[in-house]
């Protein structure tokens, strides 16, 4: 057990995820055939030995609550600690809508104060990776830092996808000397993974102080403004990081799972990723049905052809249908002799017979949840 608790902020603006976040928060966006992005954060925490997790819900959190239920799938239905969903509420000094991350964290001060752990890991909900935080916490303690930021090295970057891109510069001692949010020309290749370790009392102080000065955003008003005053350090994560910050990156990171090395990194057996169990029958391939270079979840019935695609639970591909380079979410139906290429189908989409739908690799087309084509 680590002497830490997790605080996950799920109120991120929906950015460029378009239809994916019309009816759900980023944390509840389906990923990788059977997961939602929050599964990675929760599993990382639990695999670290952290069993006290607060989830700050902001808006559209119905599907998130639906997914989390009591937290039992992550072993977070506990008598001591466990899972706490913290939705906004109206009080005499709170309108019910958070003005920003500072306001959001402040409104769950009650939960934070009650947490018995010394350290907190503050996380966003759109950065996916598989790790444990034990080493990061140990380094944080050893270095005497006020805040330790998890980061990784990013290569070439499509600026149109830039969102919440916090770049970090270090001095030779490893202390952070500069933080830049969404720089047009990033000065470094070190980008924040949206996870911060600090003492609980540090978080309490920084948030109360920012609030008192009418500051709202944790990244720009607390971190960036205090680079000089605080001992901020970094912890490098060397594994695969998927930033779900645009429809394009969402598509790319799902497709990346078809790469054996990437899927191994995200689903390494030592650190399983837990999710809500649906008790579907295994996938069934019948008649001429076949899939190649694809990820197929339980409950699928494949009677047509599937290539280079990610199929979520309970998808039906009818005879003669061809699905290529596409992401098909839970419960969608692809009618006979229809053809899909470079498409993202949200949950429960029905494609009739002999339809042809096609996007482009650089601009996949998304069909909204529950649509009939």
């Amino acid at each position: 057990m680590e002497n830490a608790f997790g605080l996950i902020y799920t109120g991120d603006a929906s950015m460029q995820l378009r239809e994916l976040t019309f009816s759900r928060s980023v944390a509840a966006v389906p990923f990788g055939g059977r997961y939602r992005t929050i599964d990675f954060m929760l599993s990382d925490l639990v695999n670290t030995g952290i069993y006290n997790v607060g989830i700050i819900a902001q808006k559209n959190y119905h599907s998130l609550m639906d997914h989390l239920e009591s937290g039992k799938e992550w072993d977070l239905h506990r008598k001591r600690d466990g899972l706490f969903v913290l939705p906004p509420f109206v009080t005499h000094d709170n309108t019910g809508v958070y003005k920003g991350t500072v306001d959001a964290i402040r409104s769950c001060m009650g939960y934070i104060r009650r947490a018995s752990q010394k350290y907190v890991i503050l996380m966003g909900s759109h950065t996916i990776y598989n790790t444990t935080y034990n080493e990061m916490i140990a380094e944080h303690i050893a270095s005497g830092a006020d805040i330790t930021i998890m980061y990784n090295r990013v290569g070439d970057y499509d600026m149109s996808e830039q969102f919440d891109d916090l770049r970090i510069a270090f001095d030779e001692d490893g202390r952070v000397t500069d933080l830049a949010l969404n720089p047009v020309r990033p000065a470094t290749e070190f980008a924040s993974c949206d996870a911060f370790v600090m003492e609980k009392t540090t978080l309490e102080y920084l948030v109360e102080d920012a609030y008192a000065h009418a500051l709202n955003d944790f990244t720009s008003d607390v971190l960036i403004k205090n680079v000089k005053n605080l001992n901020i350090r970094g912890w490098e994560f060397k594994g695969y990081v998927a930033r779900i910050n645009s429809l394009g990156s969402y598509y790319r990171h799902n497709m990346a799972l078809l790469d054996k090395d990437v899927s191994k990194e995200l689903f390494s057996s030592g650190h399983p990723i837990y999710t809500k169990i649906k008790d579907e029958f295994p996938a069934s391939y019948v008649g001429e049905g076949q899939a190649v270079n694809s990820i197929v979840a339980d409950g699928c019935m494949i009677e047509g052809r599937v290539e280079n695609s990610v199929l979520f639970r309970g998808v039906h591909v009818a005879p003669g249908a061809v699905v290529r380079n596409s992401i098909i979410m839970q419960g969608s139906e692809i009618g006979e002799n229809s053809s899909l290429d470079n498409m993202i189908l949200d949950k429960n989409v029905t494609v009739g017979v002999e339809r042809t739908l096609s996007g482009h690799g650089s601009y996949p087309v998304i069909i909204r949840k529950g649509s009939k084509v």
């Binding site: 899927s263 999710t275 295994p282 391939y285």
Partner: protein, 400 residues
Amino acid sequence: MPKKKMIAMLLAGGQGSRLGVLTKSMAKPAVPFGGKYRIIDFPLSNCVNSDIDTVGVLTQYEPLALNAYLGSGQPWDLDRMNGGVFVLPPYVSGSSGRWYSGTANAIYQNIPFIDQYDPEYVLILSGDHIYKMDYSKMLAYHVKKKADATIAVLTVPMEEASRFGIMNTDGEGRILEFEEKPKEPKSNKASMGIYIFNWRILRPYLVADEDDKNSDHDFGKNIIPKLISSGAELYAWDFKGYWKDVGTLGSLWEANMDLLGSKPEFRLSDKEWRIYSKSPAMPPHYLGADSKVKNSIVSEGCVVYGEVEKSVLFTGAHIGKGAVVRDSIVMPNAVVGEGAVVSKAIIGEGAVISKGAVIGCEPTPEDGTYDTKLTGDITLVANTVTVPEGRRVPVGMIVK
């Protein structure tokens, strides 16, 4: 403890010796089935789907795998404040104590467990059958007939009737006679080993049977005939649907094959009657660019680079490049190496078929003679065994 209308007692002590090495270290109900399930998931899910929330599981043979699997009962929604799933092994009491000597004795030894709930009815189930059944319908029939006991029966082909316990009934469904494996069957209504008893009626019979030195303490052989002869009201409830005793390697293989196809013999994709199981938290399966999977079912965590036809791949199975798997069952986390060929075989949990090995090939004189009494034409590789590179295993052989 609050009174329960009906509780279930699941007989899971069977060794399942006809399943050969598959049950060497686990009881039959823990044997994997259907890609992601274990046999016991079927009676447990049937209970939950029939609104039965208290299930006693009677174990005595190799209970570790089963105990570990059942845990708190959470996967079946049986982690309850009042009721739930209970593993009931035999125990020592005072200076005495003994193993369960028969199905009736197993229930007898657990009378105190049942009495806690003061149930009106007790449902007796066995842990080695694959089927979907709504026990609440059977109970409704039992209540309507004002029966003392009701036995679920399946209509089997007349020529096979002599393999079963046969119920001879009158036009109303009242059981007049019970014959265990009759040479000349008078009816083709076979007992499925599923009974509902009025607990008030059954209890004294269990006590009396325990004192009978000549009894085998078996429901079919002793309790049912005694109830009939003493004039109790026993009724047969006709079950229509898929039911399979998976007590042999042949029937286990067949029952798995019955899941294949777009209109399978046995359909498990029924949203109204889900079969629950413990999830191993694995990602969806991956089929490689050169893989060929036809007419098969594939579970979470599988990785397939080779060719698979008419087979059932269990959770976490790995099929290497150029490997061919046909008409086979590959159990959880088993590995079929590059270029290996597997035909009509059962590959046990965690077994490794190394590169180029051939499982289920034509026998040659060098293979000598080996016993195929249990296997017939199915080749069996035991759990966690490694078959060395290039090794040929002939049809019907057991590798342990």
